[in-house]
């Protein structure tokens, strides 16, 4: 095999992905310009009718605001938990560092449904939080922590955590220990050193991790569906409903493209911001 023949080895994978990835994606794009008939059947067309329906419907804006708000809050909460873990893993010199890193990443390998069941047990009416609060005499009737925005936000924050820890760790390369030590030896308190040196230096990593968390939250389906209990409506749940229950494929496709554009806009914004901050 001369060196010119190496590319031949890539042909099976390229053909496979062309069939199961490229073609279906183009099909989805095309479907968004079909029409849905009065009976619900799809009509081959090339029109913007579905888009007009989508963008004229006030429900679309409600879903958009819901999705954006959920993603921003879940990402912010996740950042507050991920940052100390990532900074700890970056700095620690314990011999358990490898084990601790695996413990931080492992949840992303455990099935999402398993972790959601964990949250049902923690947040349910007779779950861990309510039992503890009742035992402490803080409440007499259970707090509603499930099947509403509270539960979905908590569950979603937890599900994006490992990804954000990895993104932060990757971005911490720029943190220079010497600068922090210089600030400390010049008399700055640990808190002041953190606020004035560590935090500004890690800002590009924070922005990138936040962008990733946001995108993952926008497209999350299982968590809003199961922890929302049918009472939490976001773009992702509506896309699934339109595609399966309503079988309105043009609408589902248009909504999916609309969501994708929103996500790309935010992702672009975060990477531009991160590069600006890194300069």
């Amino acid at each position: 095999m001369t060196s010119a023949r190496w590319p031949l080895l890539a042909i099976p994978a390229a053909l496979l992905l062309a069939v199961i990835y490229v073609w279906p994606s183009l099909d989805l794009f095309r479907t968004a310009f079909n029409e849905t008939g009065a009976t619900g059947a799809m009509i081959e067309a090339f029109s913007l009718k579905v888009w007009r329906d989508l963008l004229a419907d006030p429900f679309t804006y409600e879903l958009t605001v819901n999705s954006l708000w959920l993603s921003v809050t879940a990402t912010s909460i996740a950042l507050c938990v991920a940052y100390p873990i990532a900074l700890f893993l970056f700095r620690t010199d314990t011999r358990f560092r490898g084990l601790l890193a695996v413990m931080a990443i492992m949840p992303m390998l455990v099935s999402g449904v398993v972790r959601i069941f964990g949250w049902l047990t923690i947040l349910g009416d007779q779950g861990m939080v309510n039992s503890a609060a009742r035992w402490l005499g803080l409440i007499s009737t259970p707090m509603r922590l499930l099947f509403n925005w509270t539960g979905v936000t908590i569950g979603l924050a937890e599900s994006i955590l490992p990804y954000m820890i990895l993104a932060l760790l990757a971005g911490f390369g720029r943190l220079d220990r010497a600068l922090e030590e210089a600030a400390r030896s010049l008399g700055a308190s640990p808190l002041r050193t953190f606020v004035r040196v560590t935090l500004p230096l890690s800002l590009p990593a924070i922005v990138l991790a936040a962008g990733l968390g946001f995108v993952l939250s926008m497209s999350a389906y299982i968590t809003p569906k199961l922890l929302g209990g049918g009472r939490v409506f976001v773009l992702a749940t509506e896309i699934f409903e339109q595609a399966t229950t309503n079988a309105n494929w043009p609408m589902a496709s248009a909504m999916a493209l609309y969501t994708l554009v929103l996500m790309l806009a935010f992702l672009g914004l975060s990477s531009v911001l991160s590069r600006r901050l890194a300069q």
Binding site: L87, S111, G112, V113
Partner: protein
């Protein structure tokens, strides 16, 4: 000033507790004697494991998921490993573009891939069939294998391969006798993770599954939607144990962070 410091270590410990809480709680719940979700349980038993084994739909879905994950892993390795070799060993025009093409599916949310596959498979009558679900999972596993294996091939010591080539071994023989054996730990870790990716894949499966054939995560979602009793916790314990086994294997062979962390 070295290490992490006491304040940071304490905050990190609290954060760890939050991350691991859902998993720990599920394990305790699995041994509950109650008929509904009550934490802490009023008593402990194995009744939910017995109920689980007697649940025909879940057991059938478990069998199908294992079958699909095996087929998906085998086929994905067959097309993915050669592609990774081409990207690392070959020097040709458009190589970086090809790499970008191969990794692109990892950037698209599975919600959108799932929808695209539903539109594509329905006219072909591939939804709710084993080949349909397997092909759907391969949109995730093939790019994952190409990414992980091209890193594995790129970090191999070049001198051994060069020595074999200098001694007159033809390139395919160098790959077969030197490159692949050297990359064996990476290959095993990659196969294990790709099995896990397929086994746990939920969103794509929800789109392309149906009453005739549905995978374990799909059946679990349906069960949790309907009612909440500790049976899913019993099943979760088995899944957590399986995941832990795979995580330990991968950590020993290549390191979990290296395997999943390159995005």
């Amino acid at each position: 000033m070295s290490g992490a410091g006491r304040v940071l270590s304490l905050i990190a410990a609290i954060s760890y507790a939050l991350i691991l809480a859902p998993i720990v709680v599920v394990v305790v719940m699995a041994f509950s004697a109650d008929s509904f979700i009550l934490f802490p349980p009023s008593g402990f038993s194995f009744r939910w494991f017995q109920t689980l084994v007697a649940n025909a739909p879940l057991m059938k879905a478990l069998g199908l998921s294992v079958q699909i994950a095996l087929v998906v892993t085998l086929l994905s390795l067959l097309v993915g490993v050669p592609a990774a070799l081409a990207l690392e060993k070959g020097e040709f025009r458009g190589r970086e573009a090809l790499r970008g093409f191969f990794l692109a599916p990892l950037l698209l949310p599975t919600l959108i891939i799932g929808l695209a596959l539903l539109l594509f498979f329905t006219p072909l009558r591939l939804t709710a069939t084993l080949p349909g679900i397997a092909l759907g999972h391969m949109t995730v596993t093939v790019p994952f294998i190409i990414r992980m294996m091209s890193t594995a091939f790129a970090t191999l010591p070049e001198n051994v391969e060069a020595a074999a080539a200098t001694l007159g071994a033809p390139p395919w023989r160098v790959v077969w006798r030197v490159t692949l054996p050297l990359a064996a730990p990476g290959l095993i870790a990659c196969a294990a993770l790709s099995f896990l990716l397929s086994f746990d894949e939920t969103v794509i499966s929800l789109f392309v599954s149906g009453p005739r054939a549905s995978t374990l995560p799909v059946e679990m979602v349906r069960y949790v939607e309907g009612r909440t009793d500790p049976m899913i916790a019993a099943l979760s314990v088995l899944l957590i144990a399986g995941t832990l086994a795979i995580v330990i294997v991968v950590e020993r062979l290549v390191g979990v962070r290296r395997a999943v962390g390159q995005s």
